[in-house]
Every structure is written in structure tokens, then in C-alpha cells.
Amino acid sequence: MVDMQRKDTSEQARFRDYCREWLSEHHPGEPEVRIPQSPLEIMTVEQMDYLQRWQKSAYDGGLVGCDYPVEVGGGGRKDLQRIANDEMLRARTPYFPNVIGLGMAAPTVLYHGQDALKQRLLPKLFSGEDIWCQGFSEPGAGSDLASVQTFAQKSGEKWIINGHKVWTSLAHFAEWMIILLRTDKSHKYDGLSYFVVPIKSALGNGVTVKPLIKMTGETGFNEVIFENLEIDDSFRLDELGRGWQVAMTTLLHERGAGDLHVPRAGGLKSRSAHTSNAMSLISLAKELTRDGKRVADDPIIRDRIMRCIIREQGLSENQRRGRVTELLDHPMRIPLQNKLLSSEIAQEIASLAIDIEGAASSLYVGDENAPAGGQWPLAYLNSYGMTIAAGTSEVQRNILGERVLGLAKSK
């Protein structure tokens, strides 16, 4: 693939050298346990232990939270997380398990939390010692997120929480949850407030976590039921009734459109999992045959692989052009496309991989004859998680149409 050389500042160049050196000594190596395709499918304590050890080590090495202030456990630097991410990707490290903490909770707590709360929560979030989850969706509140009903009742300086959250990834490991709660039933948007709540310490005592099984057969997300959970008012982020605005900070970062670079490691999966980018379709198509010829010789498959490669390249070039203000018509036009495009491109790639595999695409994870260990059918099934989670593709198109193009609101 076309690998774009970036022109680093001298500080970035020094940090890049540092990251390379650090990674050459501290890469955790091939995992002893099977690691799922994404942190959202972490199921066992062994998987979590291995990944938490890696995140802690990377945090101690200074590769996590580089751009956050020192007072909250960050590195106090500027525009260096991007460099660390580049190098971790290049070194094919494992991913970080605290993906919701790093990607969503940290920016939200930083921008909306009180100082004492930030200083208490963020260091262990960065180190991965405290895993975080996100309590947004409910059985009755999906794409229409502002209709959440889980209620916080004021009781002196405390809040009593009752309700039901769903699709809560990592809740079974989480110490903390970021949560959108209703504090006023008479106003849809202005009746929402935003809190952090301790989950693990309240299990069996106001909080119940029940695993949900995904269409893939994996677990990893849950429903979380609150029954008279009492929390302190100091766990509130921002003002009462400002929950929707706070949630927008979370969602912007979740969709890759926030202003903080989220710490991201990546690449390494267990030995058999080779699903990744569109370029990997080429080797797959060269290995397999149809009608006695290499799949890679089929002109239509060739065309479809090129379509995927071009889309993928275009998305990565978007990131690059997104830094040239003279070539942008609207500041959110590129950032708000990230989540939509990365999830849809991943789906198109996995779908094509299955067509390339032909009959063998019927073989799933666990079948010894499955090409690539059955990872492509698994990736295809999982891809629907990505086009639905964090705001469905349909919701993303509404947001782009309304906020960027200025079309009339569809609600």
C-alpha cells in the first residue's frame, strides 16, 4: 500500500525515534491466548490480563495519553499521540483493551469533569488498570439516543439510579461506566445529565451485568440493570441538564471526529487472524482457485479488489487532507465521515473476502480446513456491529447531511 511519509516537527521526530526504540524492547510478542478481532469481543480473564499488562507497559513507557496534561496522568505534550499510534501500528503491537476508556471516557472526563475527578480517574484509565464501559443505548433508545429513560432521582447530595442499558461492551470487566441519565422527565434534551458510575464495586448491590451473545457466537457486550444504585453528586460531569452536550463530546471522539487523538495500538492478532485491509485480499485471491484458475485472475474479482483498495486509500488520504485547512470547505466535513467510511469499507472488504473464498467461506472459526482460520466470515458478521454501533450508518448520514450540507433535519 502507498505509505505516506509524514513531515514531523523536530519534537515529533525525536519522539518517533524514542517510540521505535521503546517498542523494539517492549513489544509483548505473540500472545499466548487467542485474541479476538477487536477489544469489543474480549471474553476471558486470560485475554484481558494479557491485554491489560500490555496497556500498562505502554502507559509506563509514555505511549499512552501523551497529549493529556501531566496533572491528570498524561504526558503533557502536544500532537505526539499520533506519532505513538503510528509506531505501535507499524510495530504490530496488540490493541489496548480499554478502548472505551481511551476513546470516549477520557476526552469527556477531561473536558467536562471537575479537577479532583479527572485526577482520580484518568491515570488508571490510561494505564488500563480501570476498564471503562459506556451506558448510552437502552431497549427503547437506539438511534434516538435522547429518548433514554434510565432515571436518576435526587436524594439529598446523592442520586438514586434505576433503569436498563444495553449493548454495553466490556461491562463485564468494567470498574467504571460513563452514563447518560434522565434527571428531568419534562424535557427531552435538557432533561439529560451525564455521570460516571462505579460498576464493579456495585455488582450485586444495585448493578447487574448480564452478557448478551452476538450473532457471531461471541460475547463481549451486555445489558446492565440499575436497581436503586446510589451515587454521589461529585460523579456528575458538567452542569445538571447538560448531558446531551457532554454526550456529543463522547460521540465525536467515538466517531473519530474529536480534537484529541485517541491512543491506539494495533495490528497484532492471534496467529490465524489475518483479516485486515484490502491489500490482504490480493494474497487471499492468489492462494485460492475457482474453475481451476487463480481467483486473482478473475477480471471481476480484480475490479472489486481494486474498488476496495481505492476506497481504503481515499479514506487514509482524507486524514491527510484534513490537516490542510486551505483544502477544506467545512471543518467537520472530513472528520464526521471517519466512522461511517471505516465501518462500511471494512464490511465491503469482508464481504468480498467471502466471495473470494467461495465454498470455503462456509467454514467457520474452529474448522481446521477454514481458510485464514475462518476469520473472514467472522469479520463479515462482526462488520455489522461496526455499521450499527456508535450511531448507525443511517444516523451518520443524517448528521453529515444536516450538520455539513445544511439539509433540513429529519426529525
Binding site: Q5, T9, Q313, E317, N318, R320, L400
Partner: protein, 373 residues
Amino acid sequence: MSSNTYEFNQDAALLKDSARKFFSEKFPVEKLHELVAQDPTLGRTPQSLWFEELWQEIIELGWPMVAVPESAGGLAMPAVAVAGLVEEFGRAAFPSPMLSTLAATYVLSAADAIGPLEDICSGEAASLAIAGSKDSWGLASTEVTYSNGKLSGTAHYVQDVGKVQKILVSAHSNSDLQLFWVDLRSDGVTLDLDTIVDLTRDQGRVSFHNVEAVPISVKGLSVLAEAMPKIWMLVSADIAGAAEWQLQTTVDYVNTRKQFDKALGFFQAIKHPLVDVMIKVDETRSLLYSMANAVSAAPEKALQLSHMLKASASDLAGFASGRSVQSHGGIGFTWECYVHLYFKRQKHSQMLFGDATWHRARLADILIGPVTA
């Protein structure tokens, strides 16, 4: 921040900005329509309709020589700056020999043909006469031949030929493909304009009857191969600019037009496809500037990026055009509505120098390797 990425510097931004202002002040779309859409008659006699006075102003601004090397007296601006400028020509759908002259410039530069490049700096416009009647866009598709010091035969699909003074001709000889610089007014040269769909361009056939010509290069194939990625870049930039016009014009329309008591843009059947147009525009523009940057910063990547770019741009041209007319509804299907002007320009650009499937097939040969026997 921008100094970190591409060479899209202040000069490039200034050039793009002044072109945008130039066209919005001097060439609003009403003027385009008035100029090129006078006669809707099917089967009308082909004409080359343009504002020569505006082209003269453009010559005085120096834009046709932006890509000419300094050694020939040109401005030698980087490809990213040229891409930015051409986007504005596309946005205005400006009828002119700009694209053709820039295309000829890149071929002449690859051949190091100082004399012809000086012609361009002196204000002469030029076009490529390298296509035959039957092949798609293979580099050796010309049906013109060169023997005993004379050119014979007919060159096809010559762009903007009604607006240029010079043409760059490729011809088969008993050695390699050779390139020549020919004045259209030379003895033995005849020009026939094609009747084409696109109202903002002209195109024609140029026939040679024992024409004496100035040789430019005896290594025609390698010279053309060197220049083609930049020529695909030019057409893609024009497409990107025109597509952004189609997008914004359609957005304005669906924000104004009401049905069922709502602005059309309220309906997701309208909204989501327009978002998809925006996404395609951005894909093409991002590939455009990366490719243009690669011309100087990473030449080994320019060829594959240029195939990606033109494939993306050609798809964009078709998609944005379809959605612009469809979203306008009944009025969009009429001659009086401006969207058909861009629809037709885009359909022309879509196939010009290779459509999307053609470019993806070339890209596949690079990335996968040729089809095995």
C-alpha cells in the same frame, strides 16, 4: 499546519482563490448557459462556443503557463497548485483550451521540448492528437503515420481543437512512436469538429495530408507514459471541481423546493444520496492532492495513485451527475435548468483518458500482477 502536508503553500492557495474569484465574478453559470446553450436542436452543426476575451485575460494572468518549466520561461508551479487551479476551471465548467494546454505541457516537458513550451508561454493554446478511432486510451492508438518526413492520416478525439493553435501529434513510424508539434494552420491540415454531447467543450478530427512537422521526440511511448499520470490528474481535478458545483447546487435546490410541506432535503431518500455524493467528492479530492504531491515527493507512487484517482473521479462524475439531475426532479430534466451543462461535461470527463474500469484494470496489473495464462 499545512506546511506539514503536501506542498500546498501560500502561492498555491492564492492561485486557487484568485481563480475562484475570477470565475464567480466574470463567469456565473447564467453566462455559461447563455453562451453554450443557445441552440438545443438535436443534430445541430457543431460549434466551438467560448468567450475568447476571457481566455485572453487568463493568458495575461499567466495561468496557461503555470506548469511550464522555468527553463522555457514558465512558472513551474508544483502539481498540487495546478490541481487546485484546474478544480476551479471544473467548478465553473469554463469552456477553454486550459486542460488541453496543460496536458500538452506535461508531454512537452517530458520530451524536454523547449521551443513548443515557449509557444505556450507566448500565449498559444495546444491540444493532444494521440487517439485513434477504435481503441480506448492505449498510448499507441493513433492512426497517424510518419514517413519520408511527412505526416498522414487522421487523429481522433482531439480535445478543444476549435480553440487551439497547436497540436501535439503522435504518429507511427518505422521505428518507435514519434511525437510532433504541428500548427493547425499548416498546409495539408484539415479540421472537422465532432458533434458532441458536452456543450462546454469542443472536440474534433484532424487530418494530415503529407504535412511537414517539427519532431519533438523519437521516444513517443515513454514520453507519453511519463506524462499520462499528470494528465489523469488534470481531468480528475476538473471532475472534482464540477462535482462540488453539482453537490452545492443540488443542496441549494433541495433546501428550497418543498413537497409534502417539507423541504426535499428533509427526506432521507434525498439526503443520504447527497451525502454519498459528498463522500465521493472527498475521496476524489483527497486522492487528487496526494497524487499531485507524489509527482514531486514520491514519484514511484504517482502511477498507481493516478490510476486510483482517475477511477475514483470517473465514478464520481457519473454518480454526482445522476444524483444532481434526479434530485432536481422534472425541472432537472429540462434544457433551461443548468444542471444538464455539468451533467454533460462530467459524462465527457468520465471517459476522457480512460474510464473507471479501465483504470482499475491497469491498477490491478500493478498491484496483483498480470492475469496468468
